[in-house]
Symmetry: C2
Subunit: 341 residues, 2 copies
């Protein structure tokens, strides 16, 4: 009635403990015939490996690196905190997490960092970066060296990364579109703002946003995306210009991370009351703006889930174990003033 152990399997299969061990750990030197015998015994007894004992025995330590954009951005700060938190939790059993800051706009620096990791005995890498040819090559090299690699938040589909951990950005854009359609005035113009339309996330969000507005709310007209290029002064300038020149403006969708300059410009234009503004990611800035009714809603992904999921996936890859997709799917969360976490 107790949980079966390897000993039980050995007895049941009529083989020795060593053979059971070889089968369970996929070591060579066992005949196909015998492998099947052991496996059916495992199935019949319902044996499951005791991970406590396994981890204890195999003194394996996993070293995972999280490469996140440097700078004082609130979102990446939150991510870094989440990595540190996750490193302390029970899930981080025998894994060692380390954050490495990378300059977002310097592919060569990213490549240098990726190379240095390989030599430092890192088992897996989670990276948040834009896809450039240099980064692509560096990731391909990491994979050749046998490291596990997952893309974080922003996918790198043309690299041999093992997995993507983040939300479906087309669906996120569709969610924003639906919220905008339901929240905003019946008709008018919608402004879409982002740091750069070269970012894959922005492209996908815009795609989803447009498709919902076009099909469900045709009376709302979406203006061409405005790019701020991470420059607060530029953001301030272009936003003021649009507000001044577009009396029909009824909503703003901020797809990127630079929400502080946007909100400042809007606040000073005194147009916030009649505008429906949607943004991404919950940060101190967006939280405050939700509370003061300046933002109608924030679409976010739970950074804690993000990091823990990346960790579990990296581990699964290292152990050559299957990944439970259902558990790893990151939710698109809608946060309003009243359901702030």
């Amino acid at each position: 009635m107790n949980k079966p152990t390897v000993h039980d399997i050995a007895r049941e299969a009529g083989v020795s403990l060593a053979t059971v061990d070889r089968v369970l750990n996929a070591r060579p030197g066992v005949r196909e015939n015998t492998i099947v015998k052991v496996q059916t015994a495992v199935a019949r007894l319902g044996y499951v490996r005791d991970t406590s004992a396994a981890n204890l025995s195999r003194q394996r330590q996993y070293k995972f690196a999280f490469l996140l954009p440097d700078g004082a951005g609130q979102f990446s700060t939150t991510l870094k905190t989440a990595v540190r938190e996750a490193g302390k939790s029970q899930i981080a059993d025998r894994v060692q997490l380390k954050v490495h800051e990378i300059p977002a706009h310097d592919p060569h620096a990213i490549v240098r960092k990726l190379r240095s990791l390989a030599s430092r005995g890192v088992d897996g890498v989670a990276i948040l970066a834009q896809e450039t040819p240099q980064v692509r090559d560096a990731i391909a090299r990491l994979k050749q060296d046998g490291r596990a690699v997952v893309a974080l938040v922003s996918d790198l589909p043309n690299t041999p990364r093992d997995n993507f951990v983040g939300i479906d950005n087309i669906a996120a854009g569709r969610t924003a579109g639906l919220l905008m359609g339901r929240f905003a005035a019946r008709s008018g113009e919608i402004l879409v703002v982002t740091e750069s339309m070269r970012s894959r996330n922005s492209l996908e969000r815009r795609l989803g946003f447009d498709s919902v507005l076009a099909s469900d709310f045709p009376s709302l007209k979406v203006l061409p995306s405005i790019e701020t290029f991470d420059d607060p002064a530029r953001a301030d300038h272009v936003i003021r210009e649009v507000i001044a020149s577009r009396p029909e403006l009824t909503g703003i969708y901020s797809m990127g991370l630079g929400n502080a300059p946007l909100l400042t410009a809007l606040r000073e234009s005194h147009q916030l009351e009649r505008l429906t503004v949607l943004a991404h990611e919950l940060t101190p800035t967006t939280r405050q703006a939700l509370i003061s009714n300046e933002l109608a809603a924030v679409i976010m992904q739970d950074t804690g889930h993000l990091v823990r999921s990346a960790m579990r996936i990296l581990r699964a890859i290292c152990d050559r174990q299957p990944i439970f997709d259902a558990q790893e799917r990151i939710r698109i969360e809608v946060i309003l003033r009243e359901n702030l976490p």
Copy 2:
């Protein structure tokens, strides 16, 4: 540089392994003086107990019972599935979960079940039930027997339960109020439906709902709550009556679980297009209604989180370990057609 073990602590503190063990596991027979010596050594070396090894050694098995309403309700079915899922996951290390069905409306049957658990060597109980004097007493007795008890989904504040695992229902009601105010027509009447207003959840949700509508959307008038008493025929009847007699009706907030009869009645009245309908909990019924635009939004709590959190908390109580409130806070999730999980 490696992780310190009990051996390191013993050397550092200048005591024996047995003494370190006695201190770490709070066993008696150690002088205050020595306890301090060991504790400072632990702090200095940054020792953390290796849970894998500890669990392996101490063959402790936790037996937790989940008492959930019987019947074919979709929400409690989802919960039961979540319990089974959680039982298989890695978090359920050395814990044994079992679902016990209880008749929601028979306090004496619940009491009988609670008593039978005590004799069956159960270490902890998670219970979803309405608070009645009988249930109160039975829980008090369980606590006296030294079992851990958490209230699930619906709080039991006047019992000695150790914890409540669920959402803040006032905030959930407020979230619904905000969604209703933003989604519905500028003015009109709002219908609120539930199984029973004697349920604490319904009371709190209504409270939050009303307060947001009153302060932020005074042009929406909330009608008195309608109770269905879990009776589809009655639900059908009263809902049709309200729809027929209230031409100003613009929104419906379904606070309880009986969404199927509500949606059927609405569908047949052909009023769904002009009504904003909000409901709780994602089930096959509400999912389908979201997809077909019959429901504007669903407010849900992740049943997986709910169950895992209850499990972690029960364990923490059994081990007399602190609970990390931040991790255990259950999110109020807003689900629209486009961010369905």
